[in-house]
Symmetry: C2
Subunit: 106 residues, 2 copies
């Protein structure tokens, strides 16, 4: 049986909180990574910050409602709540994930 960590229900998710979570560059990077690999743990994500920091960010992402985390032994693999987010804020997450990089000014 699969056990999951606590997370907000669909209608508890606040768009302001989601935007605050996505505002940090490292967390936006994590979200983009999870969109590719479907599921990953904190250590498996190869990021230029310490694992304790990654864990901190993933916690914020989960509390905001962006990711859900499964309990698998000592591992805590997380995944994007794509369907949930699409139902709660239609078009929001997909717009961010498909966004084109900006043309550098000057």
């Amino acid at each position: 049986m699969e056990t999951w960590m606590a997370q907000p229900d669909l209608d508890e998710i606040d768009v302001a909180t989601v935007l605050q979570a996505l505002a940090d560059p490292m967390r936006l990077r994590i979200v983009r990574l999870l969109a590719e690999v479907e599921e990953s743990t904190c250590t498996a994500l190869d990021l230029p910050v310490k694992v304790s920091t990654v864990s901190h960010h993933v916690n914020i992402l989960r509390h905001s409602g962006l990711v859900s985390t499964r309990i698998d032994g000592t591992a805590r693999p997380s995944r994007l709540r794509r369907d949930d987010l699409e139902r709660r804020f239609p078009g929001l997450l997909s717009a961010i994930l498909t966004a084109t990089p900006p043309r550098p000014q000057r």
Copy 2:
């Protein structure tokens, strides 16, 4: 003839910068207000912070590409760049503006 303040071109707008701009509660509130009134100056927006702070927030919103500001005498009325944003990040702004408030947990 209408004069406008400097603002980023469409393809210069960065989604990360936009998300950072929208992450602040007061700025999100300003964006929601501008979505209703179509155009407003800093003083006309009735907000619980000093006008100098509102001006600061509107500057950030303009530099991020969210609003454009017209020069009209001493006044600087700003408006949401709805069409531009819709073309740059389809669905993003509308998803935020139409978002339902969260059901309070507990």
